[in-house]
């Protein structure tokens, strides 16, 4: 068996560490290099204490990057697009977890990120790396973008409704994300100082959240609006809560006509019954009736549920995942599995813990 060689750039960060953890146990992949400028020469466990004793790999300096079969870029927004040519010379396949290649339209990028895109010619060919939506394209892709963690949660929760053409586009789509502290990465600051961040219920982005752009693009595609994007008003806000890993998105959708619960069940079941990482969670009794992020920590599941208010013709959609897994590193490995034609679940079978 000849394993492919994968290299992680930005390997001292949170998504980089998570990709490393996953690839260390992946049956088809050998971890070639893990790159970090701040920790070059140190062992992986200096940044990722859970990896102690699992590998003798040491962080490589960015200058020592070597050719490999696939590069996983785990750098902050904006750090990839200027260097992408160099990265693509090093590897025939590149997966970039940042936001640099998520949007197809350079105008859209500029509007939401404020800067001119530095590699606009690559945007049309980059694939939005969500297997549930772009599985086929991934098989041939050479440049794949990771997906925004909150955007992924929302898109997976809503996709069946938009694909079914059920949503009344005249009523704004309101989405509320509740999110843990790891979503902001490994860099400390005054707002992440434990006495300040602990117990927070902090509205960090009530309006204008950048993940809206991904939603507009991807739900627009599903709704048949092509590249012009979802025409509906999207009102997305995000709240940081006491949690390290995990996201719950609650979305309020109004339907064009009356629908009943069994129709909804059918729609979701059809959309997701063959998806290995999506589960429908909707129970009438018990403690865990709807998707709950805490039991997903470390797993690659996105759990999706819904509740219908028949009178109001409103559907409340709830979707949950681990931002570092299905929201970032796990999804990237799933996309990698797609790109190489492997079973999508390779390296991703940890089911999550309970209690936790």
């Amino acid at each position: 068996m000849n394993r492919i060689r994968a290299t992680i750039v930005g390997g001292s960060g949170y998504t980089g560490g998570e990709v490393a953890r996953l690839l260390l146990f992946h049956p088809e992949v050998e971890l070639a290099q893990v790159v970090s400028s701040s920790r070059a020469g140190q062992y992986l466990h200096s940044a990722h204490p859970n990896l102690r004793g699992l590998s003798t790999i040491r962080f490589s300096h960015p200058d020592d990057l070597m050719p490999c079969d696939v590069l996983l870029l785990c750098l902050p927004h904006g750090a990839t697009m200027g260097e992408i040519a160099r990265y693509r010379q090093l590897a025939p396949r590149v997966i970039d977890l940042s936001a640099d290649f998520r949007l197809r339209d350079p105008q859209l990028y500029q509007r939401w990120y404020g800067d001119v895109h530095q590699a606009p010619e690559l945007l049309p060919e980059a694939v939005y790396g969500l297997p549930e939506l772009h599985r086929e394209e991934l098989r041939e892709a050479t440049l794949v973008s990771g997906t925004g963690c909150m955007a992924t949660t929302a898109i997976l929760g809503l996709a069946p409704l938009y694909r079914a053409g059920l949503v009344d586009a005249n009523i704004p789509l309101v989405l509320e994300a509740k999110v843990g502290s790891s979503a902001a990465g490994a860099k400390p600051g005054s707002s992440s100082h434990h006495p300040e961040r602990s117990g927070a219920v902090r509205s960090f982005q009530p309006t204008g959240h950048r993940h809206s752009a991904e939603l507009i693009q991807e739900l627009g595609l599903l709704g048949g609006h092509g590249n012009s994007g979802l025409p509906q008003t999207v009102a997305f806000s995000a709240t940081s809560i006491e949690l390290v890993r995990g996201i719950l998105v609650t979305a309020h959708v109004f339907t064009k006509e009356r629908i009943d619960e069994r129709q909804l069940w059918r729609m979701y079941r059809e959309a997701y019954q063959r998806e290995p990482f999506i589960r429908i969670v909707k129970e009438r009794t018990g403690v865990y009736r709807y998707p709950e992020p805490k039991i997903l920590a470390g797993s690659n599941y996105c759990d999706v549920g819904f509740e219908l208010d028949v009178e109001q013709q409103r559907i409340v959609v709830m979707a949950a995942l681990d931002n570092l897994m299905k929201g970032a590193a796990g999804n990237a490995v799933q996309a990698l599995n797609c790109m190489f034609g492997w079973d999508e679940t390779l390296g991703l079978t940890f089911p999550g813990l309970h209690p936790v």
Binding site: E261, R262, W265, R266, R269, P276, I280, K282, E283, R284, T285, G286, R289
Partner: protein, 60 residues
């Protein structure tokens, strides 16, 4: 990963397929998708009914 068993009936709550191996008419079983408590009404023409449920307080 839930494999499809032979004999099933539709859940009256969520329309999901409920497996019916080793069950008797009148028995209470559960829907694997929505966990509804179901009574086996008929096995020849497989049919399930919603079992009378005690409303459960969920706190909050």
């Amino acid at each position: 990963m839930i494999s499809n068993p032979v004999l099933t009936a539709a859940c009256p709550e969520c329309a999901g397929e409920v497996p019916l191996q080793n069950v008797l008419v009148g028995e209470i079983i559960y829907c694997p998708d929505c966990s509804a408590e179901l009574e086996v009404l008929n096995l020849e023409q497989p049919e399930l009914g919603l079992a009378p449920e005690v409303a459960e307080d969920w706190g909050e």
